[in-house]
C-alpha cells in the first residue's frame, strides 16, 4: 500500500488548526458560547390540567404544538410530568419585555385551544422567565477542568518515569491541545453547548492519550531498533500505521452523531459535539503529532549526543 507523507502537510494543517483555536477563542470571547437550552435563559410554558388524563396527553401535546407552530414558535425541550397532566415546554429565547408579553399571549392562546378539546377539565397554561444561565452546571465544568489538570500533571510524571521528559511533554501538550481545539471548534461553529459537553471534552483527552502513547511507544522502539532511520521517517511510518485505527474511530463517531441527529430532541447537541470530536480527534492524531513530536525528538537526540561527547571527553581525561 502506498504510504502517505504526513510530515509534508502536517505543519500546514497544524497552522490551520491553530487558526481555528484563535478564531474560536475570539468568537467565544466576543459572542460567548452558543449555550443550549439547559444552560441559557429563556421562557417556560407549562400546560396543566386538574385531572390525570392519561390517554388525552397526545391530544394536549398536538393542540399546544399546533398553537406554537401557528405563532411561529419552536420549543427546545419538552418535559412530561405526572403521567401527562403537566407538560413543560422550554424555549431558548432572549428575555425582553416584548418577548415576555408575546409568551404571556401565547399561554392564553394555548389555554383557550386546549380548553376547546377538554371542556370537562380545568386547563391552566402559564409562562415564566426561566433563568438557567450562570449557575447550572458551572461548578461541574470547573471541577472537571481541575480533574483534567491533575490528570495531565500525574500523566506527565508517569510518562517521565516510563519514557523521558520530551515524550512526556508531547503526550500532555497534545491532550491539552485536543481539548482546547474541540472547545474552540464548538465555539466557532456555534454548536449548542449542553451540560454533557464536559464528558465529550474528557473523551477528547482520553482518545488523545490512547493514540499518543501508542505512537510514542512505537517511536521509542523503532528508533532504538533502526538507528539509520530519521525521526521524520519513523514518525511518518507510525502515522501511516495509525491511519486505519484513527479512521475507524472517526467513522464510528461520525455514524454515532448522524444517528443521534436523526433521533434529535435532547440528543441534538450531543450529536454535533460528537461530530466536532470526530473531526478534532482525527486531525490532532494524524496531523498535530509530527510537528510537536519532531522538535522534541531532535532536542532529545542533541542532548544524547552532547551527553555522549561529554562522557567521551571525561573518559579520555
Amino acid at each position: 500500500m502506498k504510504k502517505l507523507n504526513f510530515i509534508k502537510i502536517s505543519k500546514i494543517i497544524l497552522s490551520l488548526l491553530l487558526v481555528i483555536v484563535v478564531a474560536g477563542a475570539v468568537l467565544a470571547g466576543v459572542l460567548g458560547f452558543n449555550k443550549g437550552v439547559e444552560l441559557s435563559n429563556g421562557y417556560e410554558l407549562t400546560v396543566k390540567v386538574d385531572v390525570n388524563f392519561g390517554d388525552n396527553k397526545e391530544k394536549i401535546e398536538t393542540e399546544t404544538e399546533k398553537v406554537l407552530k401557528e405563532n411561529g414558535v419552536k420549543y427546545d425541550l419538552k418535559k412530561i410530568a405526572d403521567e401527562g397532566s403537566i407538560i413543560i415546554y422550554q424555549f431558548k429565547e432572549e428575555v425582553t419585555e416584548e418577548n415576555t408579553k408575546a409568551f404571556e399571549d401565547l399561554a392564553v392562546k394555548v389555554e383557550d385551544a386546549v380548553n376547546v378539546i377538554l371542556v370537562s377539565t380545568t386547563v391552566d397554561a402559564t409562562t415564566a422567565v426561566s433563568e438557567r444561565e450562570g449557575f447550572f452546571g458551572t461548578s461541574t465544568i470547573w471541577w472537571a477542568i481541575l480533574a483534567v489538570g491533575v490528570t495531565v500533571v500525574l500523566a506527565f510524571i508517569y510518562l517521565l518515569i516510563r519514557y523521558n521528559i520530551f515524550y512526556s511533554l508531547v503526550a500532555c501538550i497534545l491532550a491539552v491541545f485536543e481539548v482546547i481545539l474541540l472547545t474552540s471548534l464548538v465555539g466557532l461553529v456555534r454548536i449548542p453547548l449542553a451540560p454533557i459537553f464536559s464528558v465529550v471534552a474528557l473523551t477528547a483527552v482520553i482518545l488523545s492519550f490512547i493514540n499518543t502513547i501508542v505512537l510514542l511507544n512505537g517511536a521509542k522502539e523503532k528508533l532504538r531498533l533502526n538507528k539509520t532511520k530519521s525521526p521524520e521517517e519513523v514518525a511518518n511510518e507510525l502515522l501511516n500505521g495509525s491511519l486505519p485505527k484513527n479512521g475507524v474511530i472517526a467513522i464510528v463517531l461520525v455514524v454515532a452523531s448522524i444517528v443521534l441527529m436523526i433521533i434529535g430532541g435532547t440528543f441534538t447537541s450531543l450529536a454535533f459535539e460528537l461530530l466536532a470530536l470526530a473531526v478534532v480527534d482525527f486531525m490532532v492524531n494524524q496531523f498535530a503529532f509530527a510537528p510537536i513530536f519532531l522538535p522534541f525528538e531532535r532536542k532529545r537526540n542533541k542532548d544524547n549526543l552532547l551527553r555522549a561527547k561529554k562522557k567521551e571527553l571525561k573518559d579520555k581525561e
Binding site: 449557575f135 447550572f136 490528570t151 474511530i249
Partner: protein, 435 residues
C-alpha cells in the same frame, strides 16, 4: 494444542458469550420453583437508573411571602449555590435546578429535579431548609449566629444498643466551633445550649466546659438514621438561605434525556461495534472475528461488574463512559493485530510474532491503562455531577479492558489459529514460512 481441543474450547467460549448476551436482555419466569413465582429480570434490569434515564421527582418551590415589594434585589444565584451544594452534599450526581421568574410579581420560583429514591422526599426538606444557624442559652439569648462560627461538621458512627439490646450502629453529627466562637460559648457556660437552624431545633442540652472535646460537641439524637444526621450536618455546613420557600407540589417527571435514552444508546453502541468490526475485517480479516468475541466478552464482564457495584446508578454519562471504554478496547485490539502482523513480517513465525507482539503491546497497554485509570480516579474524587458517573463506568472499563486486550484476546487468537485449516488466509498472513 490439538485442533479438536481448540475447536471445543472456542465453542464453549462462544456458547457462554451467547448465553450471557441472551441473559443481558431476556426476562422470563424461572421454571420448576414450587413455592411462589420467581422472575429472571435480565442483567440490564438489575441496573438501577439515574434521573436522566428514568422518571425523576420534580419539586417546585414557591416563596412563602411575597417579597416583590422589597427594595432589595433578590440574590437568586447565592440561593441556588447553597441549594446546589446541599444537593451534591446529599450524594446526588444527576439533578437539575431552574428558576422561574414570575413576569408579573418578579418573585422567583425554583424547580429542583432529583432522582426518585426513598429518601428524596425528606432530602428535599433539608435542601430547602431556611434560616441561619443560631446558638442560644437557656434564656433564649443569642450567643452565636451564622455558619461562620463553625469550623467543621462531620457525621460519625458509634456502637449503641437498641430497645431489644442488640448492638447497632448509630450516627452523630460532630460540630467543631471556631476558636472565637468557642470562647463566646465558654463565657456563658454552664447553661443549656440550644442549636437550631431556622425553625428546626438540632440540639438542646445542659453543658459544661468539660463537655466540649477540643471545641467540638456531638449531636447524637439521630439514632440509626444516617440520612437524618447527614441532613443536619449539611444544614450546619452550608448555612441558611435568606428566604423561606415552600414546596408547592412534588411531581413525577419524564426522564431528563427523554424516554428510552438508555436503550437507544445501547443499540447505537451495538451498531457501532458492528461497523468497527466490519471495517476491522477489511484490513485484518480473522483478527476481526477474534476481536468481536473479545469486545463482547469485555462488554458482558463490565456489565456484570456494574451490576455488582452497590448503590450505583446508571446515568446517560455512565453509558458514554461505557462507550468510550469500548472504543478503548477496540483501539487496543487494532494495535495488537497490527503489532502481530508487523512482527510476522519481520520474519518470525506466527506463534513467535503473537508472543512478541503481546509482550510488547502488553506493556504499552499497561501504560495507557495507568494514565486512563489516573484520569478516572481524578475525575471521580475531584469532579462532581454527571461526569462522576462517566468516571465510574470508564474506570471499571479500563481495568476490564486491560485483561481483555492483554490476556483474553491472545487466548482467542490462539484458539482460532489452532482451529482453522487455512491459517494464512484467515489471518491474512502473506509469508510462506508461517507455521
Amino acid at each position: 494444542m490439538s485442533k479438536k481441543k481448540a475447536k471445543a474450547l472456542l465453542s464453549i467460549i462462544i456458547a457462554l458469550i451467547v448465553v450471557l448476551c441472551v441473559m443481558t436482555f431476556a426476562k422470563f419466569e424461572i421454571p420448576g420453583i414450587k413455592n411462589g413465582v420467581y422472575n429472571y429480570n435480565s442483567i440490564l434490569g438489575a441496573l438501577e437508573l439515574d434521573a436522566d434515564l428514568e422518571e425523576s421527582a420534580a419539586y417546585t418551590l414557591k416563596l412563602k411571602d411575597d417579597i416583590s415589594s422589597e427594595d432589595e434585589e433578590v440574590e437568586v444565584e447565592s440561593i441556588l449555590k447553597v441549594l446546589e451544594s446541599r444537593i451534591i452534599g446529599l450524594g446526588y450526581d444527576n439533578y437539575a435546578i431552574s428558576t422561574l421568574k414570575n413576569s408579573t410579581t418578579d418573585n422567583y420560583d425554583i424547580r429542583i429535579e432529583l432522582p426518585n429514591k426513598q429518601s428524596t422526599a425528606s432530602d428535599i426538606t433539608a435542601i430547602i431548609a431556611y434560616g441561619e444557624m443560631e446558638v442560644t442559652d437557656a434564656d433564649g439569648n443569642v450567643i452565636l449566629t451564622g455558619n461562620g462560627a463553625i469550623k467543621n461538621v462531620k457525621v460519625e458512627s458509634y456502637e449503641a444498643y437498641d430497645q431489644m439490646n442488640n448492638k447497632v450502629l448509630a450516627y452523630a453529627c460532630i460540630v467543631e466551633f471556631t476558636e472565637e466562637a468557642f470562647e463566646e460559648i465558654k463565657a456563658v457556660l454552664p447553661t443549656t445550649v440550644n442549636i437550631k437552624v431556622g425553625e428546626t431545633s438540632l440540639f438542646s442540652q445542659e453543658l459544661n466546659v468539660e463537655d466540649f472535646l477540643q471545641r467540638t460537641i456531638s449531636i447524637s439524637n439521630y439514632g440509626t438514621d444516617k440520612s437524618a444526621a447527614e441532613r443536619a450536618a449539611l444544614q450546619l455546613k452550608t448555612g441558611g438561605i435568606p428566604y423561606e420557600y415552600e414546596i408547592e407540589k412534588g411531581e413525577v417527571i419524564s426522564p431528563l434525556m427523554g424516554e428510552n435514552a438508555g436503550l437507544i444508546s445501547l443499540l447505537i453502541l451495538a451498531g457501532l461495534v458492528l461497523i468497527a468490526i466490519i471495517l476491522f475485517a477489511v484490513k485484518y480479516k480473522g483478527f476481526a472475528l477474534s476481536s468481536l468475541i473479545s469486545v463482547l466478552a469485555f462488554m458482558l464482564i463490565e456489565l456484570i461488574i456494574l451490576v455488582l457495584i452497590p448503590a450505583l446508578k446508571i446515568s446517560f454519562a455512565s453509558i458514554l463512559g461505557f462507550i468510550v471504554a469500548t472504543i478503548f478496547v477496540l483501539s487496543g485490539l487494532f494495535t495488537q493485530a497490527q503489532k502481530t502482523l508487523a512482527e510476522f513480517d519481520s520474519g518470525k513465525t506466527f506463534k513467535a510474532a503473537l508472543k512478541s507482539a503481546y509482550k510488547k503491546g502488553g506493556l504499552l497497554f499497561v501504560d495507557v491503562s495507568v494514565i486512563l485509570a489516573i484520569l478516572s480516579l481524578a475525575v471521580f474524587f475531584i469532579a462532581n455531577g454527571a461526569i462522576r458517573s462517566f468516571a465510574i463506568t470508564f474506570g471499571v472499563g479500563t481495568v476490564v479492558a486491560l485483561f481483555v486486550v492483554a490476556v483474553f484476546s491472545k487466548w482467542i487468537i490462539k484458539l482460532f489459529y489452532h482451529s482453522v485449516s487455512k491459517k494464512e488466509a484467515f489471518f491474512k498472513l502473506n509469508r510462506e514460512d508461517a507455521e
